[in-house]
């Protein structure tokens, strides 16, 4: 049975990462920004797991991927709480309107 080469996974991961990064730069909705960040983290997971297949004896890559998932959840919790707090005082989730602190 033939398997998919590792390079394919790496390319998909790179594309995901770029989609996340471009989304972060172009979108202005705070929730979409957080989603873009999650996309970037998922591309990292894919890269780690794909590379782990090259040297399967040591599961360091998969371990790190699990930790990334867990920490990303914690970060999303704090991020969403902060977006909520921001929405309560400012009544907007548009990142362009976060402009009280400027020169």
């Amino acid at each position: 049975m033939s398997t998919v080469p590792v390079e394919y996974f790496l390319i998909v991961a790179a594309v995901l990462f770029v989609v996340g990064a471009v989304g972060f730069l172009l979108r202005r909705n705070l929730l979409v920004l957080l989603m873009s960040i999650e996309l970037m983290l998922n591309s990292v997971n894919l890269t780690l797991v794909a590379y782990n297949r090259l040297h399967a004896a040591n599961h360091a890559g998969q371990n790190l991927a699990f930790f990334v998932i867990a920490v990303a959840a914690a970060e999303a919790a704090v991020g969403l709480a902060i977006v909520l707090a921001f929405f309560r005082v400012r009544k907007t989730i548009h990142s362009d309107e976060a402009n009280l602190l400027k020169n």
Partner: protein, 520 residues
């Protein structure tokens, strides 16, 4: 070393964890005035144990050991940073004890008919969560300074980041504070994502997360190819995004002024020194340990050319210049100090351009002096603003030389030191940084050093604006003013080393130089 044996080298961190749990428990049980006293006491005790054990290990001739099968290192380098972090957090604890008025105010806020959007809320109602979070941050920074594995680096960096996000938003109903937290969390998420992507590529090419094993593999590949492999280069640049975010180096500095302005001042003071020092610690270890930047493999008689000096030099020049030029036009002193802290990250990055023993020692020495002077300057801004109804602009400093001579004199010490003029500690720190560059020689190092000196001159303009306001400008108010005694004591505690290190730095510098032995 296995997990159980490792625990006895982990006493500082265990003390902090104990302190955090006890503070949370005490916060639930205690009532009234005993609550605050107990919390501050617990924080002080756990910090004293943490710093004290670190100092004792630093003074004894202990060998570096690898803890938890090599995830962490207990060596002189990590102990030095443990002491620095315990000291910094101790000062911030002193400095964030709410005044009686604030305590009364928060008691009023507890009442049901209180106005819901009082901007005066210093912290959220309970001091417990503030002090517990502060200790969690210290724990994370300690772990950062001793991590020797990419997984540990990521985890400790995230402990510090996530808690910092929360701390920046502690003024719960304040518009600026919530905006600061928002900007922090959004930029922080992206920076850690980019850093992780770099890590995944470094893992891919080195097949290991342990810095030591990474180094072996990178050296082997570099020797075989005669240059640093492209994947390592890309991975390192991506990881620099994460580190650069923590130390607020350009171009990852955008969050700094906004977060520093919006966050409560004690938090700002802490963020501007603690996580920044930890970021430098972890970056030094990464360069030293994983990239082996200090001794490159020799191919055909000449050491391999590495891109690191160029990258570090460019980052340093960009960071200094952006920080100093933006600071020029600021009227808000807190925001000005935020830009100045970016510029100082740039000076410290200079040391990475020459990654010799002298270069690293000068970075660490500068980090130590920077902690004293920057913390002190923020403390005084907070104290003065508190007396002026929260006004942090330069107006509240007018005529301070006459109205509060001690405060003005101490502030002058910090400002002169930040500028880098003798006879203050900042001068000695900069002197070592520049001399490391000049001693290493080469056109590139000279060019970087010249940019650094020009930047120091620029910085004199905005620091002297505050001094001019304090001594030469008249304010409408002439009656003497006084900051809280606690602030006075803490700022003098910081001003003394700033002065002493400026005239008698030899032993401290030697101490730092001897503390550089890292587990490898």
């Amino acid at each position: 070393m296995d997990n159980v044996q490792s625990l006895k080298y982990l006493v500082p961190e265990l003390a902090l964890i104990g302190g955090i749990l006890l503070i949370i428990a005490w916060d639930l049980v205690a009532k009234g005035k005993a609550k605050l006293t107990g919390i501050v006491g617990l924080a002080a005790v756990s910090l004293a144990i943490s710093g004290g054990v670190g100092l004792a290990a630093l003074l004894s001739k202990s060998e570096p050991v690898a803890l938890f099968y090599g995830l962490l290192a207990a060596d002189r380098f990590s102990n030095l940073f443990r002491v620095v972090f315990a000291f910094v957090t101790g000062v911030v604890v002193l400095f964030s004890i709410p005044s009686d008025e604030t305590a009364k105010e928060s008691a009023e806020l507890d009442a049901e008919d209180a106005p819901k959007d009082s901007a005066l809320t210093k912290f959220r109602r309970d001091p417990g969560e503030f002090f517990a979070l502060l200790l969690v941050l210290t724990l994370g920074m300690n772990l950062m300074a001793s991590s020797r594995n990419l997984l540990m680096i990521y985890l400790s960096l995230e402990i510090v980041s996530v808690i910092s996000f929360v701390m920046a938003g502690l003024k719960f109903q304040d518009k600026k504070s919530s905006e600061a937290a928002l900007k922090y969390v959004v930029y922080g998420g992206v920076a850690s994502g980019i850093m992780l992507y770099g890590m995944s590529w470094i893992f891919g090419i080195t097949q290991s997360l342990y810095l030591g094993e990474c180094a072996e593999r990178i050296v082997a590949l570099t020797t075989a190819q005669g240059k640093v492999p492209a994947v390592v280069f890309v991975g390192t640049v991506c990881m620099l995004a994460g580190f650069g975010y923590k130390i607020s180096a350009a171009p990852f500095h955008m969050w700094t002024p906004d977060v520093y302005e919006g966050a409560p001042t004690p938090v700002t003071a802490f963020l501007s020194v603690g996580p920044k020092a930890a970021g430098f610690a972890v970056m030094i270890r990464f360069f030293w340990d994983a990239l082996g930047a200090a001794d490159m493999p020799i191919v055909k008689g000449t050491p391999v050319e590495t891109p690191w000096p160029i990258i570090a030099g460019c980052l340093a020049m960009a960071t200094m210049t952006v920080g100093n030029l933006s600071a020029l036009g600021q009227d808000n002193v807190k925001r000005m100090l935020a830009y100045s802290s970016i510029a100082h990250a740039g000076y410290m990055l200079l040391g990475f351009s020459v990654f010799s023993e002298a270069g690293v020692a000068s970075i660490v020495f500068y980090v130590v002096t920077y902690c004293f002077m920057n913390l002190g300057a923020f403390l005084i801004v907070a104290g003065v603003a508190e007396q002026n109804g929260g006004d942090e602009t330069i107006n509240s400093f007018k005529g301070l030389g006459r109205r509060a001579p001690v405060v003005a004199a101490v502030m002058t010490v910090f400002l002169i030191s930040l500028t880098g003029l003798p006879p203050m500690a900042g001068f000695v720190g900069k002197f070592y940084l520049f001399s490391a560059l000049v001693n290493a020689g080469g056109t590139w190092n000279w060019a970087v050093a010249v940019v650094g000196v020009v930047n120091s001159v620029i910085s004199l303009f905005y620091y002297s604006r505050v001094m001019r306001a304090m001594y030469l400008e008249k304010s409408e108010k002439t009656e003497p003013t006084q900051v809280r005694k606690l602030f006075n004591a803490a700022s003098i505690l910081l001003a003394v080393p700033t002065l002493v290190l400026g005239v008698y730095w030899g032993p401290v510098y030697d101490f730092v130089l001897r503390s550089l032995s890292m587990a490898r």
